[in-house]
């Protein structure tokens, strides 16, 4: 299962549908606080896809809130400084939007073991 955290509805819907096309069950929330709350409630995720800039508790802060599963950071920011900041904040992989199969499939294969 995967959690998609993106404040933009268009992006969130697209990313969820892309994951579902590969057989991944998904949940979607539009801010980091709801993501942390969902995880704290006991829902288990194998993968979190998260935008860097969110309305509440953004992608740069979520690791500090005790989130441990694999995180894929997706963002419209393309600069090297943003990339380094996102990786330093704890995402395992950084992708500039849009999320595409070329980047997603290897991650799903790795999670599939």
């Amino acid at each position: 299962t995967a959690l998609v955290v993106d404040g933009d509805t268009t992006c969130r819907v697209l990313e969820q549908l892309l994951l579902r096309s590969y057989g991944v069950q998904t949940h979607g929330v539009d801010n980091g606080r709801d993501a942390v709350a969902l995880i704290a409630s006991g829902v288990k995720f194998n993968l979190i896809i998260i935008d860097m800039i969110l309305p509440v508790l953004n992608g740069l802060e979520i690791r500090d809130m005790g989130v441990h599963c694999k995180m894929l950071g997706v963002t419209a920011c393309s600069g090297e400084s943003e990339r380094q900041a996102f990786l330093a904040a704890g995402v395992d992989v950084f992708i500039e939007k849009p999320l595409d199969p070329e980047h997603l499939v290897p991650i799903l294969r790795e999670l599939d073991g």
Binding site: D8, T10, L17, L18, A76, P98
Partner: protein, 123 residues
């Protein structure tokens, strides 16, 4: 116009949108996600994009009209607009958002708006 003629016209319009650089291969990804379980997916996601974009553009306009201009907020809006436009394959919108963000970073949104004025009347 019969069904075949209309389909042909739609195909021509679609091709011209790619040829003129308005759409890129990400739009094809969207089309590939459409199937029997989601037969109107492309129409729905484009409609969603238009709705979100209208709201974003309104917020951008309000921010541009405020004094002093809140460039941080403006950049956040453009960041979101760039993300959603790139996700549906709206190539030209994505490019313009990237350029506008550079002007925002320099604290000079007015210069970008001024640079657009000739295009508004000729394009």
């Amino acid at each position: 116009m019969d069904g075949y003629g209309m389909q042909n016209q739609i195909a021509c319009i679609r091709r011209s949108l790619f040829d003129q650089g308005y759409l890129d291969e990400q739009f094809i990804q969207l089309e590939e996600l459409q199937d029997d379980t989601n037969p109107n997916f492309v129409q729905e996601i484009v409609t969603l994009f238009y709705t979100d974009s209208a709201r974003l553009i309104q917020n951008i306009e309000l921010t541009l009209n405020s004094r002093p201009i809140n460039f941080s907020k403006l950049d956040d809006y453009m960041h979101q607009f760039k993300g959603s436009s790139s996700s549906i394959g709206a190539k030209k919108v994505t490019s313009e958002c990237a350029v506008f963000r550079q002007y925002c970073a320099a604290g000079n949104a007015e210069a970008y708006i001024s640079s657009l004025l000739p295009h508004i009347y000729t394009d």
